[in-house]
Each structure stands twice: as structure tokens, then as C-alpha cells.
């Protein structure tokens, strides 16, 4: 996995926030899980540097933190892109060919699900049902829902976001 495809860019403000979260939870039993949730809120993901701060702050080993961070699929070890793509692989979307949609997104961006593009513009994830089964197969980019997709349309949709950034077409 390209877990560290992008260098960690934490700010002093984020660190201060995280330390406050740790201080608030430190004495509670099972503090690790809520702290990791908030750490992910602050940083968007849980890189080594953040997990190390959590381990040091709570006085537990990095092994333990990493074990929990990799156990729950809710936690991400890779940064999220400026635009978060989420391809629905729920039952309805799946029977309508969502796997081909995901494959096309991965193909166009040159990264796998769970990863982020080197320029930080897009990250891809899959999800289970966004509640829009009538529009299957469905993909979300940030808060925007794209329904009744075919693999052919993917390139144009992505290009729209790239154009906004003034970049070259995918």
C-alpha cells in the first residue's frame, strides 16, 4: 500500500488541537478510540507522525495504536484528496456494474481505492449504499451525487474538477 505517498504536513495549530484532545481523554478507559476519531477529524487521516503523538500522549505503544488504526475500516492511513471520490459498491449499485465504475476511476487517476493522487487533488474510496439506489450505479465526489453512470462518462466528470484547478485533462 502506498500509505505514505504524500509527506506529512501537520500544522502547529493541528498539533495543539490533538494535544488538547489527548489531554481531555487521557484518563478515560478506552481513550484510544475516541482520540483516534478526533485525530482523524483534525488531520483527515492517521499518518505515522499522528499515531506516534497519540501513542506518546496516551502512554501506550505505537504497535497498539497501529493495531487499532488498521482494525477499523473507518480509519484511514492515507491522506484524503481535495476532492473525495466515493464509489458505491452496495448491492443495487453492484448489480448495475459499480465495479466497472470503480475500475474506470482507478484507471483514469492511476491510483487504487484507498489512495490519494500524488498532487493531492483526488482520493478514491468505496462505500456501501448512499441511499440513492434508484440512481444506481452511483458515485459521490465530495457532496455531489452522480447517478446512472457508465464507465464512459467518468473521464468527463473528472476533467471538470481538474479544469477548475487549471490542470491538464485526465
Amino acid at each position: 500500500m502506498a500509505e505514505n505517498s504524500l509527506a506529512f504536513k501537520g500544522t502547529p495549530a493541528q498539533e495543539e488541537q490533538l494535544l488538547a484532545v489527548i489531554a481531555k481523554n487521557k484518563e478515560l478507559p478506552g481513550a484510544l478510540l475516541p482520540v483516534l476519531h478526533e485525530a482523524q477529524e483534525i488531520y483527515g487521516y492517521l499518518p505515522l507522525e499522528v499515531q506516534q503523538m497519540v501513542a506518546d500522549g496516551l502512554g501506550i505503544s505505537l504497535s497498539e495504536v497501529y493495531g487499532v488504526a488498521t482494525f477499523y475500516s473507518r480509519f484511514s492511513l492515507t491522506p484524503k484528496g481535495k476532492h473525495k471520490i466515493s464509489v458505491c459498491l452496495g448491492t443495487a449499485c453492484y448489480v448495475k456494474g459499480a465495479d466497472k465504475i470503480l475500475a474506470e476511476v482507478e484507471n483514469k487517476l492511476g491510483i487504487k481505492s484507498g489512495e490519494c493522487t500524488p498532487d493531492g487533488l483526488f482520493s478514491i474510496d468505496s462505500c456501501r449504499c448512499v441511499g440513492a439506489c434508484g440512481l444506481a450505479p452511483v458515485m459521490m465526489i465530495d457532496e455531489e451525487v452522480y447517478g446512472k453512470l457508465t464507465p464512459k462518462e467518468i473521464g468527463a466528470i473528472l476533467d471538470k474538477y481538474i479544469a477548475e484547478e487549471g490542470g491538464e485533462q485526465a
Partner: protein, 587 residues
């Protein structure tokens, strides 16, 4: 004591309240098979091998229960071998085997693998369940431990040993479900972690997923190289454990067979006695202690023979580095003596010497590579190779030496004899006791006490105050790094004022080192194998001609001929060393 009465396979037993079904069954002479359970180390009820059927109040309990964690209850009826139990265990083992790399013939654990034993007992079909092809990269980057996760059964015994016993915690379970595997954070190599190399993970592993980094081939190459003069020396604890690899009872002292076997590995191979450099360590360390006490040096002084402990201080408590005795370990001293004094005495070129230590330890493999332990202006390592007890046993087996029937032989001159103080180095408390013997005699010529039983155990942490020549000498001993951490925190908090502290990284000391013969769960769960191994050393000490290191004729010879006296210039050059802070993070 409150007890409960229950029946195991219709046999009535009365056991203390709080016993598990597993413990109660043993009382009825029924050993319920286990895999993830390891006494004092891991008790998580995860592997589902120890499942049994039970009735409570005459009614069958729902489903099978895990004997290793389920408490024995009053009136309970337990059945350990019913068809449902057998079927469940068999399926569990077959599922474990579905992802297990079944290269048993070339596996280092072949014939003493706990999974293999279970598979045979339950007549499993090892190919019943097909698995996804999952291949893990073998981590062999560290100088001491190799992890092959393709053989791992996720019992978590290594993780528990590392985290709960040693509090080092550089490995853990990663991911979930089918993808679970054990490793260091961010799937980095163990070599990138602040691992101390104690090897307690290896001796906890039921299968061949963890092994020492083998150096046997390098030793065979040297033996077969006519240019090389190969010299072995064996650590104090080896005599108490090597026999186990040849089916001798635990605690058999094989001191005489060891040199006989080593000589038979190849022509001209020498077999020296490392108990001699244990004595030498004591001469230097006792002198250092007296110096520190009388001149206001840093106290408490910590023993520095154990390389796992030394690396632990370097990683996790660098502020305590000045407390570590500057004495090299007996292994390192022997290398320096051979390539310095012995080379000079015999005229053998140190570059042609191939020095092999046999040690109970995986951390010693790292110690050999320390740049501080190179001599001849950094031309060569003082010790070329450190072999574990297991590696020496494998070499003896490959050479088809009839170990159990060997007649006793003496070690090679001039490093043949040692005192009882050198012998007990292999057990927790032994280094401190040997140091006390010599330090007390040095300070007070009339001092008669030789047996310092108070420091031997069995408490986890022993604190004793002795009065020697009007000086109050306060000492503490512990083993296992979890206990060491407790002791260090106490010292840090200013709650203790010891003069000397002995710490060995492995619980029980070297006799339970990470390089010692593997004992399966069926031994470790029911037998005090550490006590049996220690007893072999203390028995030999008691029967020794000399009990104190300073009385050994080899010690007298080497100071007369070479080092003059402890703490002199030459001994500082050859017998003392330095340490470096290492950081406690992943790199």
C-alpha cells in the same frame, strides 16, 4: 482456601476457586490441548483449540467453551474428548492449516512444532480448506530475529511476551479478519523498531514463524577453512539446557559432554569455558562497585552482562547510561582476551582466529556487531559469531555426534576452570551474588558468607541490604524487562537508594533466554522448567572447588600474566566499553 468440586470426564476433582477448566483437568491427569494459551504470558481464549463440552446443574451448556479462560465452577461436569469436541478441534486446526505455509520438512520446528503435533493427533486433512494466496515477505533484516508470517498462526503469544512481559511492545496485531498478521507498526521491519532483541518472542512461538537469524553456515565455513583457527566458548547457562535438545531431562548438566561434542565438529576446534570470563567480569565489576562507592561515583551501578537489558537502557532509559557498569559482558571479554592476550601468547594471528560464542541469547548476536567491541584498530570483531544453544544443537545433530552417550571431557587449556560464582551467572541473581562474594572478600578479608540466598528469588523483585566492612550495601535484583521498568521508575522517583542492581532481560535470567531450547506449551504450562534449569547451576556452584571468582586459578593467571589488577590501564582497554543512546521510536 475456598475450593470448588467438579467432574472432568466423570472424574471428581476439587480445585481452588479461580482455577480454569484447563487447570482443573490437569488435576485429573487430563491435558486439554492448547495453542494460544501460554502460562504467565498469554491467556486470551482466541485459538479455540481448547474447546470442551460442559454441563452445569445437569443441563448441557450452550455451545463449547474455551477451557483456558473458563473458570471451574461448583458442580460442573466437563467432557474433554466427546465427538463434538474432537470435530471442533479438528476443524479449527484444518482452518489454521489453510493459511499455514506447510513446508514442514525444511522447517526449523519440524518434529517439535505445536501445530504439527495437533494436526497429527487429530488426523486432519491439511488441504481441506483452500485459501486465498497470501504471501508475506520474510523479515530478516535484524541481526537476531527472523519473522516468517507465512507460518504464523496468530496465537499472539509473541505479542504478549513482547508487550506484557517485556513491556517493549514493538510488535502487534495488524489489520483484521483474513488479513490479520503480526508485525511492527506500519509494517516496517523489526530492525527499524526499538526492539531489544531478547528473543522471548521466539521461545513463545508454537510454530516456525519466529527463529533466530542463523549463523551456523558461517561457522561450518570457518571450520572447513584450513586458514582459520576456530575457538568456541560456551556461556554459563548452556550446560544446564543443551541436553534438552537431545531428549535429556530438563535440568541435566551436560558440562562434560559440551566440549566433547564441540571438538568433534571439526579438526582443531577448541572448546573454552566462558564461566572464566564471567569470573573476569566479576573481578572488574566488583572493583568498579567499590570504586563507585568509595569515590562518589554514579550509583546505583547496574550490571551490564545482559545485552538485551543494555539495549533496553539505550533505547528507553538513556538517562541511566552512566549507571551501567562499564564492564564488557563475559562474551565480549572473552573475544577481547582471545584476540588480545591469547593471540600474543600463542602467536596466532587474530585475523585468522574465528571466535564463536555459544550463548542462550539472541541479543548477543547484536552485541557482536557493536562497533565498541571491535579490536585491532577496528579491523575485526572480537567475537565473530554468536550461536544460540539451539544452533549449537543443530550443528551437533548435523555432525551426527552421539551426544547423549558422549564421555565427559574437560575444556581446553588455558581457559578451562572457573569458580561457582561464574557458573551461577546464568540465573537471575547470579551475577550480583558472585559480585557480592568477591566484593565482600575484597573489603573484608575475614568475610565468610558465600551463599547470598536472599538475592536468588523467587520474588519478582528482590531487595536486600548487606553489611560489609561497616558499609551498608543495598542491592536489588530482577529479571524480565517489565520488572526492570518498575525498578527503574522507582529509582527515578527517588524511592530507592541501591548501590548495585542486577537486571537480566529474560524472566529467570539466561537459563530462560531467547536462544534456549524451545519447550512446548505442554511443558511450559505445567512445569517450572526455569527452576529446574537454575538448579543445575546452583548445584554445580555448591560442588565447586572455588566458590568466589577471585579464587579461580585462571583468573590469578591472567592478572599475573597480563592485566595486573582489576581497573588497571590494560583491563580498561580490553575489558571495559561504552554505550550510546538509541531513541525509542520507529526509524
Amino acid at each position: 482456601m475456598e475450593t470448588v468440586n467438579l467432574k472432568i470426564n466423570n472424574i471428581p476433582v476439587e480445585v481452588p476457586k479461580g482455577y480454569t477448566i484447563l487447570q482443573a483437568a490437569k488435576q485429573a491427569n487430563i491435558e486439554i490441548p492448547t495453542l494460544c494459551y501460554l502460562k504467565d504470558i498469554n491467556c486470551i481464549g482466541a485459538c479455540r483449540v481448547c474447546m470442551v463440552e460442559a454441563k452445569q446443574n445437569g443441563r448441557p451448556m450452550r455451545g463449547l467453551i474455551a477451557a483456558c479462560v473458563y473458570p471451574a465452577e461448583e458442580g460442573m461436569e466437563v467432557f474433554t474428548n466427546t465427538p463434538a469436541v474432537i470435530k471442533s478441534r479438528k476443524t479449527t486446526i484444518e482452518l489454521l492449516l489453510s493459511t499455514h505455509q506447510k513446508k514442514c520438512l525444511s522447517c526449523v520446528r519440524n518434529n517439535h512444532c505445536e501445530l504439527q503435533k495437533l494436526a497429527l493427533e487429530y488426523g486432519v486433512d491439511e488441504d481441506r480448506f483452500a485459501s486465498e494466496d497470501m504471501t508475506y515477505e520474510i523479515d530478516e533484516q535484524s541481526p537476531y530475529i527472523i519473522r516468517n508470517n507465512n507460518k504464523c498462526v496468530q496465537c499472539m503469544r509473541c505479542v504478549a511476551a513482547c508487550k506484557n512481559v517485556q513491556t517493549v511492545s514493538v510488535i502487534g496485531a495488524i489489520k483484521r479478519g483474513y488479513q490479520v498478521h503480526v508485525g511492527s507498526p506500519f509494517d516496517k521491519s523489526l530492525n527499524d523498531s526499538p526492539c531489544v532483541g531478547c528473543g522471548q518472542c521466539i521461545v513463545s512461538c508454537p510454530v516456525g514463524a519466529l527463529t533466530e537469524k542463523s549463523d551456523e553456515e558461517r561457522v561450518w565455513d570457518a571450520i572447513n577453512d584450513p586458514e582459520k583457527v576456530v575457538m568456541f566458548f560456551t556461556a554459563p547457562s548452556i550446560k544446564a539446557t543443551l541436553g534438552e535438545c537431545f531428549d535429556l531431562p530438563i535440568g541435566t548438566n551436560v558440562e562434560g559432554k559440551m566440549p566433547a561434542a564441540i571438538r568433534r565438529l571439526g579438526e582443531g576446534v577448541k572448546a573454552f569455558n566462558m564461566d572464566f570470563t564471567a569470573d573476569l567480569t566479576i573481578m572488574e565489576e566488583a572493583n568498579e562497585l567499590i570504586q563507585r562507592i568509595t569515590t562518589g561515583g554514579t550509583l546505583p551501578m547496574f550490571t551490564s552482562c545482559c545485552p538485551g537489558w543494555v539495549k533496553f537502557v539505550e533505547h528507553y532509559y538513556p538517562d541511566f547510561i552512566p549507571n551501567l557498569s562499564t564492564c564488557k559482558s563475559p562474551q565480549a571479554m572473552f573475544g577481547a582476551v582471545l584476540k588480545g592476550y591469547y593471540a600474543q601468547k600463542t602467536g596466532i594471528d587474530p585475523n585468522k582466529m574465528f571466535v564463536v560464542s555459544v550463548i542462550p541469547c539472541t541479543a548477543k548476536k547484536f552485541e557482536c556487531t557493536r562497533p565498541q567491541l571491535r579490536s585491532g584498530d577496528g579491523d575485526y570483531d572480537d567475537v565473530d559469531v554468536a550461536l544460540t544453544t539451539r544452533e549449537l544443537a543443530r550443528m551437533i545433530k548435523r555432525a551426527h555426534i552421539d551426544f547423549a552417550d558422549l564421555q565427559d571431557e574437560d575444556y581446553d587449556l588455558p581457559f578451562d576452570k572457573a569458580s561457582g560464582g561464574g557458573v551461577i551467572f546464568g540465573a537471575t541473581g547470579g551475577v550480583l551474588e558472585a559480585a557480592l562474594r568477591t566484593a565482600a572478600r575484597t573489603l573484608d578479608g575475614e568475610f565468610k558468607k558465600v551463599d547470598f540466598e536472599e538475592v536468588r528469588g523467587p520474588e519478582a523483585i528482590r531487595e536486600v541490604t548487606y553489611e560489609v566492612a561497616g558499609i551498608q550495601v543495598k542491592v536489588a535484583v530482577t529479571s524480565g524487562l517489565g520488572n526492570a521498568r518498575k525498578l527503574l521508575e522507582k529509582i527515578k522517583a527517588g524511592e530507592a537508594d541501591y548501590q548495585m542492581v542486577e537486571i537480566m532481560a529474560c524472566p529467570g535470567g539466561c537459563i530462560n533466554g531467547g536462544g534456549q531450547p524451545l519447550q512446548s506449551d505442554s511443558v511450559r504450562n505445567y512445569m517450572d522448567y526455569k527452576a529446574l534449569r537454575s538448579k543445575a547451576l546452583y548445584d554445580q556452584d555448591l560442588a565447586s572447588e572455588f566458590r568466589c571468582s577471585d579464587e579461580s586459578p585462571v583468573i590469578k593467571m591472567i592478572y599475573d600474566e597480563y592485566f595486573e589488577a582489576p581497573g588497571k590501564e590494560k583491563s580498561h582497554k580490553y575489558l571495559h566499553t561504552s554505550y550510546v543512546p538509541r531513541g525509542n521510536k520507529m526509524t
